[in-house]
């Protein structure tokens, strides 16, 4: 696995530029993911890689295409200091793992080997040996994630038919 590390305010326009929103299928979105700030991302990313961002990750446009593009690229999760709220909702709603943990962001460098235990929120930097505890999700949100997304969760609860 590889780490892709970016700075603060990674906006959804750079995660997936608007010029590609006319083709919202997963393959197309993945092929242009991050290209305006990291031209090599789409050609080098592999299943299991982790994106590490600074504060306000996913700010700007509400496009769900952004977490969809990262998920379709094979990204295992995003670890950031904080998330913009619509990106946060969208990731939970599509069952894409995100972890808020400022200490982990500061303690992970590109090239490190990192493992994540989603059940406990523990992030381990295997290169340095450091362990970090991400903020836990409230039970309600855990329910959405465990059901595989918002719509599946609503179906499971019998709210949506």
């Amino acid at each position: 696995m590889k780490i892709y590390k970016y700075g603060d305010n990674v906006d959804t326009d750079v995660i997936i530029p608007a010029r590609y929103l006319n083709a919202p299928d997963e393959k197309s979105l993945a092929s242009h993911c991050m290209e305006d700030i990291d031209a090599d991302f789409a050609s080098t990313v592999e299943a299991g890689d982790i994106v590490v961002g600074g504060g306000n990750f996913g700010c700007g446009s509400s496009r769900e295409h952004a977490p969809l593009a990262l998920k379709a690229s094979g990204v295992r999760c995003v670890i950031a200091k904080s998330f913009a709220r619509i990106f946060y909702r969208n990731s939970i709603n599509i069952g894409f793992p995100i972890l808020e943990c400022p200490e982990a962001v500061d303690g992970i460098s590109a090239g490190d080997a990192v493992s994540v235990d989603f059940s406990t929120g523990v992030i381990t930097n295997k290169t340095t040996g450091a362990e970090f505890q991400a903020a836990p999700f409230p039970e309600f949100i855990n329910g959405i994630i465990e059901n595989g997304g918002l719509l599946k969760s609503l179906k499971a609860r019998g709210v949506a038919k």
């Binding site: 530029p17 608007a18 006319n22 083709a23 305006d36 769900e64 969809l68 709603n93 719509l151 038919k161």
Partner: protein, 419 residues
């Protein structure tokens, strides 16, 4: 501890007497909104989940505004999917080319937003309707699908930042300058997960179009929503547009705020934001002289009648500078008609500007004004991110209609008062 305006609206939507910041609630929705980019993804999710019907065909609005009139085959196919879904579910408020406008100008104009209502839209600038005392916020496509199916959605109750407005705006200073100044002060994540609640004696002097602009860009400070109290101007705006009952909410005197900020409207200068963040603000005095090649006047932020009047007042009898392209986009068909009736459209065309049908086009680098390499634009839109309006080397300065129009005349960033 008392509640803020937003907390009161959310409590009512969840059937609760009171809520506290951080609490997760499920609230009833008064309107679910989507556009031609986000609705197709919502439709896919809706169908994939095997959902069969919408909760209320009168409480869903689908507006084809982003890539319309369609810029390419793929966009046309997305619009066709929206059209088909709207037909299949008999969606009352479906706005296609010829009737559509930019959604956040159109929804209030058509009376689809009222004080105290809870509105979600699969578009980040849905926060605009806080100008009417509604709770409105941007969500994603899966949220839109869930909202259309169930009429409810989960929310985390936000804490609020109280923005106390005092004084009144001077000449050539508008709502855009207020919100850019605020974002410059608190940063693009300064209101993350928070409401921005605008109160104070300065509110009364702000026109509705200025309040729409201010709430529209709450998201650019990371805000969940922006909201104004309801006053005589709000009620005058609602008259003839909203005939259903509505309820307005004021914050309790002992409501708790995460932060309080005071802005003296009288002291504000025209303000612009340089690349690549809306928080990278400078006064027009600091920015004056920077050459630009394109001017865009329009968008959900600044495509309303007051915006066009302010731009036309500067362009009337003047000419767009050689080497500058000036694109004016009335946000709705009604605004277009009003601008024609007032002679504003003729003023723009005589000055050498182009006037377009309503569309979000250039704001997101879609069509109707995409930039080329290394070009600089001054734009009344809301985002100046890397690559937003063109290649990554293109640059955007965010500004008010008055500053954008003055800059069109000179070809450099210009204080309207200096013309």
């Amino acid at each position: 501890m008392g509640m803020t305006m937003t907390q009161k609206i959310l409590a009512r939507s969840a059937g609760l007497d009171r809520v506290e910041p951080g609490r997760l609630i499920e609230g009833k929705l008064d309107l679910v909104l989507g556009n031609d980019i986000t609705t197709p993804v919502a439709i896919t999710e809706f169908n994939k989940a095997g959902l069969s019907s919408v909760f209320d065909k009168d409480k869903i609005a689908i507006v084809l505004d982003h890539s319309t009139p369609c810029k390419d085959i793929k966009s046309a196919q997305l619009c066709a999917a929206c059209r088909e879904f709207a037909g299949e579910h008999s969606i009352t408020h479906f706005y296609d080319v010829g009737r559509m406008g930019i959604e956040h100008a159109l929804v209030p104009e058509k009376g689809l937003a009222a004080p105290g209502e809870v509105i979600v839209g699969a578009d980040s600038h849905t926060c605009t309707y806080g100008a009417l005392g509604a709770f409105s916020t941007g969500v994603g496509s899966t949220d839109m699908a869930a909202g259309m199916a169930t009429g409810t959605l989960w929310f985390k109750v936000p804490s609020a930042i109280k923005v106390n407005l005092v004084g009144r705006l001077g000449k050539y200073v508008s709502g855009k300058d207020v919100i850019l100044h605020l974002i410059g002060m608190i940063g693009v994540d300064g209101a993350l997960y928070h409401s921005l609640e605008f109160v104070g004696e300065g509110v009364a002097s702000l026109e509705m179009d200025d309040r729409f602009t201010i709430c529209n860009m709450a998201i650019e400070a990371g805000g969940k929503n922006g909201i104004f109290p309801v006053d005589a101007k709000t009620i005058a705006y609602l008259k003839g547009r909203v005939d259903r009952e509505w309820q307005s909410f004021e914050a309790d005197p002992d409501a708790e705020y995460a932060r309080e900020i005071t802005i003296d409207l009288s002291a504000l200068r025209p303000t612009v934001a340089f690349p690549h963040l809306p928080s990278n603000t400078r006064t027009v005095d600091e920015a004056a002289g920077k050459p630009i090649q394109q001017v865009v006047i329009g968008s959900c932020t600044n495509g309303r009648l007051k915006d066009l009047r302010e731009a036309a007042a500067i362009l009337k009898g003047r000419k767009v500078a050689d080497g500058v392209r000036c694109i004016v986009i009335p946000a709705t068909q009604q605004i277009y008609l009003d601008a024609m009736a007032e002679g504003l459209v003729a003023d723009f065309i005589n000055a050498g500007a182009v006037v377009s049908t309503p569309t979000c086009g250039p704001c997101l680098g879609g069509h109707m004004g995409v930039l080329s390499d290394n070009e600089w634009a001054i734009s009344t839109t809301n985002r100046n991110f890397v690559g937003r309006m063109g290649p990554t080397s293109s640059m955007i300065i965010l500004a008010s209609p008055a500053v954008a129009a003055a800059s069109a005349v000179t070809g450099v960033v210009t204080d309207p008062a200096s013309l």
